[in-house]
Symmetry: D2
Subunit: 269 residues, 4 copies
């Protein structure tokens, strides 16, 4: 639990868990997440990893900014963080938006990435994803956690998960209601506005490190076909699919999610 002041003076919140001698693993959040989203994973991951969690600017306990930025700014923040932690080469796990940041890091700073896991991650903002972004912005403008949950979350979790975990989802809806405030929504809108032009498809061949694609068969945000396009362009990448899960696979099927990540990182360390 610490704060880093980045080169441009922004405060970034991060946590480090696990033994210093374990392989360093940085996990990058999806757009609606923050460090506490990983609470259930910390005990497992920290047994095997030196686990580094961080909030992007405009997420969680990191600083909120008034002005718009491009998603690539997080690559600089992340580089500052791994510099500060004296990690020469990290194992980077990115989820969705965090996966986009991970892709950019692996392309621009290949020497800093030992291995890469892209979970439910796109290589481009397709027209569909851009429209989904518009829908989410529209929902965020209401600045009401409950209505935001109702409007945005059915895109994220699969019907399969809704049909089996309705009570949990209702609890979560209440939590959104009580915790998401105006600041949160403004940060969220900046985050979502940071990447409409994101497209690294043609640069993926620069990724040389061992790479795992981790998809989910009911994910409509980053569907299997989009992830397969990454798999075909990243040399020797692996591709595992979690069954009966949506874009929120890490929460819908945490066991499978951890199995794949622990196995892939340890195999490559």
């Amino acid at each position: 639990m610490a704060l880093l002041r980045t080169s441009d003076g922004t405060q970034i919140y991060y946590e480090v868990h696990g033994d210093q001698s374990n392989p360093p693993v940085v996990i990058l959040n999806g757009i609606m997440m923050s460090v506490p989203s990983w609470a259930g994973f910390v005990p497992h991951f920290s047994r095997h990893f030196r686990l580094i969690l961080m909030d992007f600017r405009d997420q969680g306990r990191s600083e909120r900014k008034d002005s718009q930025y491009h998603i690539s700014i997080h690559v600089d923040d992340l580089t500052d963080l791994i510099d500060a932690l004296e990690i020469s080469s990290a194992n980077v796990v990115g989820l969705s938006y965090g996966g986009q940041v991970a892709e950019m890091l692996a392309i621009k700073r290949p020497e800093r990435v030992n291995s890469l896991v892209l979970a439910n991650t796109p290589a481009r903002i397709s027209p569909y994803l851009a429209e989904l972004g518009e829908a989410w912005k529209e929902a965020a403008e209401l600045k009401d956690g409950e209505r935001f949950f109702k409007l945005a979350i059915p895109f994220i979790y699969s019907d399969f998960f809704y049909n089996r975990n309705l009570q949990w989802l209702k609890e979560r809806q209440k939590m959104f209601k009580s915790t998401l405030n105006g600041e949160w929504f403004e940060g969220f809108i900046r985050l979502i506005s940071s990447n409409p032009d994101f497209n690294v498809l043609e640069e993926l061949d620069k990724i040389q490190c061992p790479t795992l694609l981790l998809g989910a068969d009911r994910d409509i945000i980053t569907p299997i076909e989009e992830m397969k396009a990454i798999h075909e362009r990243v040399r020797n990448s692996e591709f595992l699919v979690i069954k009966d899960a949506g874009h929120g696979a890490f929460l819908e099927k945490p066991g499978e999610f951890m199995t794949a990540i622990i196995g892939f990182v340890l195999k490559n360390c």
Copy 2:
């Protein structure tokens, strides 16, 4: 283009196309649709069918009601219509919400259904579908066609369709903006509120007529698995799947949609 006054005095709009000697086919709209949604299909269907299109109460040019009703009320309206048209036994094609009405008719009045096509149709409102209904109600409460389009439509058409037809979708968004008014939204909310308890799974074995399930592989509203549950319960039913299409398959892939319906109805007449 005519109006029927039903037994309970409600005005129902309907159209009849094609030769009187052709087999009678009634098409039942999805929840956001109305008779003009079928404009592109009329020339094709009316070559083979005596085609009957209708708006449910609270849709299109049918009467709007002040008070809430149950989805089963449409079964009575529909029966009144086929009585008035002196059709002893119709071929009924239902799409989504219209498919639910078609299921109820085939269960309650089997003698009036010669064959049945259930396109992108559920047999129950699953918890996921109920939450989607809540999302759509929330979006409708904004009473703004453009925002409604942005929030609700990405559930309906597949990413595949968005990625190839963005311009058409943007035109449509404008049309929603200019045509959906307060009355429309109120009707829509009543329609969506008419079926949270809908579940005919255990009555499907009463359907004896030839039945075609027509699904789409990227439909997240009535996914293949839910339609397979219908297929397994309706004796000798057929099941065809449209590739690379979502819940709006009839519009995403009109060719496949017509092929399946024309073939199935003519085979069974």
Copy 3:
């Protein structure tokens, strides 16, 4: 039930069913089939079509040849047949090997094809298909219908079909045992040897007529992905998928098979 003598003097067996005024539909057999394989379909198809069935040379009651030929020879035989029947432009339905012949006809003689249905059909003999051909030749060399059935048929019907129709399959195995003789196996080997170099992928853009791809989700001989490659190259083609069926979909799911073909042909006549 008639014999045609083709331009090169080969006797081709064919049958014509249904009213002369119906649209002409020619159905082309898969490699192990012959005219009687369609017996169950004739009553249905002949209500709507002027149905023409034929055996390729080396199939059924057509002449068996001593020497090897190329698959394209069937295009000439087929052209002779539709000439003799004075059909200026036919609706052509090809199944697997028959679909390959149909593709070649539509490419070389587009004016003779009004519409095209390619059921479980490849556009090329992939390395996998070539090896499967080798396996089948190996099995045919045993010249024993029962052993041939055991070795070759599990590639054709899906596990789904085996698990529900074992008794029927066992009966069929007996039929293979009693009816497949040395001549049959020699003809089969020539048929399978006629197309190792078959590849029309780059010519598919010449197909201009309405085209339906009809696939099956458990078909390992002509899997969905291979048929999708055809779909993407044939302008405005339609693609329907039969659920829970293998390469033998026409027999596993005859209802769906007929629905798609009747609908597609009648829509385009």
Copy 4:
């Protein structure tokens, strides 16, 4: 590299790799495999595991028996082996036939299994699998490695793998030709004859240890649907799917295979 004499006096070949202090992992072969099939995996697995490989009786360097046995006999052999190695509770990874043995061990001797990985494994011999067994017996009776390869192997590897690795497969075919002898085929026939009545579906709820199902989306021998039936019956089991691979996924996609196994075992140790 050692031999164990089991309670009934049969010689079982096994190997132990990796540090004694690592978690013990026993890998059980598929029916056509033997210890050397894992050669490429030993360096990776032995970094993390105390890796135990073994040949079932009638496989590789284990003793060949004249008389028929039931598949359950391997459970006794395996128990003898883990007793001899003084492993109180092993992590057991079974592939296909080996997975069936692993299931039986976990059901009968739950105290001896710490965690379980079932890769491309059935819970019952379906009618389809039984017929496939008949096909393979038929192919084995020819006692010719090359013809056996041609007839049996296209069921195992996916079309995807054939289309990209034909040369490797041709080399392998030669290897089959030169190494499979009469003894091998007799052993293989006994192995395949040992399990036509295998069905543990109704006993799967006895499996209490952490369990990973590892399937492949083009596997026609143990298709995803059959493995899903296991997933639904084994409490809290995980299910990961390897994309674009067949029943031979361990060889088609060794990276994904190792990632899943290393991650799952280490997470549960």
